[in-house]
Point group: C3
Chain length 139, copies 3
């Protein structure tokens, strides 16, 4: 059994979905992983990791809008407001989604669907430096 | 360390919860897995994998209703409408839930609670052919 | 490859977030785990496991309030009401969050961010006895 780690840095610039599918697949190919699990995680509670459709970019706009409406940036709704109007909504959005995903690799191939991509979903307004931890366990 | 894969096909017929606990447990028994992790994933972003109560079927009706109310099928709310009124809501529902779960096996037993079942949560209206990927890693 | 299991018991007393980061880290240290995955799961569908900010306790109050507003305890909204007004909302909240998380350990350290803590998010009003299953796989 083999284990490898890799920190992927993603610079964000506002509430958007940032795709990183290609970087993850590159890492798998370079390391020649055959079969195993990749555990992805972020060490923040104001952004998420999601698997989402990568065909029509309108899907991403609708997603961001839906979450902004569901969890409004309105300081009157929250007690925790000292870090900005977007901070408490960001924490709530991160609980509603995921900050960790486990992906399977079979015969050197990442098992994602044809229309699936890996995304960092940024919930903060100001630019951030996000680290997506990649951890492979397998053979 | 041993790894095994298995594709479970589930034919869906509308927005419902489709239980597959028994098929997963059968696969564990046939392969005689002792201890390890099963990573379950689907290669779609319009259905979810969830662990939910399997005692009272009313729980499932309430769940479906709640999600339909939270994410309405109303084309006026979304930009991405070309794949039908249920498509963008399906993407949002899949982000609000999970499309991947990791389960533990201990002493040949899948660690699910007495009242817990494994479900595919279908968000599309038209019949679909869903594949639930099973990936075992352990001994 | 080594595998270990540990059941952590948490006694809850109402809808709150119960932190257990320290107990998980203690277990890692006692067992001298170097690199691997810890799969955390609960065998209930009325409580969640989440990673959330552990700095400002107001974040937890805002989280609980948001979920209570999103999923109201109002028997008129649900069919499944026999187990109390908090039971069906608890099931829905568990689907909206997670009942399983996989964490990575690298060089004997649990990869959590500086401001991240592990929490049991209790959704029931009456006192409960919750078991958080810890399963390590690695070396």
């Amino acid at each position: 059994m083999k284990q490898e780690f890799f920190d992927l840095e993603v610079k964000t610039n506002g509430q958007k979905l940032y795709e990183f599918t290609e970087q993850t697949i590159n890492w798998i190919e370079i390391n020649n992983f055959k079969n195993g699990i990749i555990n992805l995680s972020i060490q923040h509670t104001s952004a998420s990791l999601i698997v989402q459709e990568n065909a029509d970019p309108d899907v991403q706009i609708d997603l961001i809008r839906f979450f902004d409406k569901l969890v409004p940036m309105d300081n009157k709704l929250y007690i925790h407001t000292i870090e900005g109007k977007d901070d408490m909504p960001a924490h709530i959005k991160s609980v509603l989604t995921n900050n960790q995903i486990s992906l399977s690799i079979k015969d050197s191939e990442l098992l994602l669907g044809t229309w699936q991509g890996l995304y960092l979903f940024e919930h903060r307004l100001a630019p951030q430096n996000r680290i997506i931890i990649h951890h492979f366990i397998g053979g």
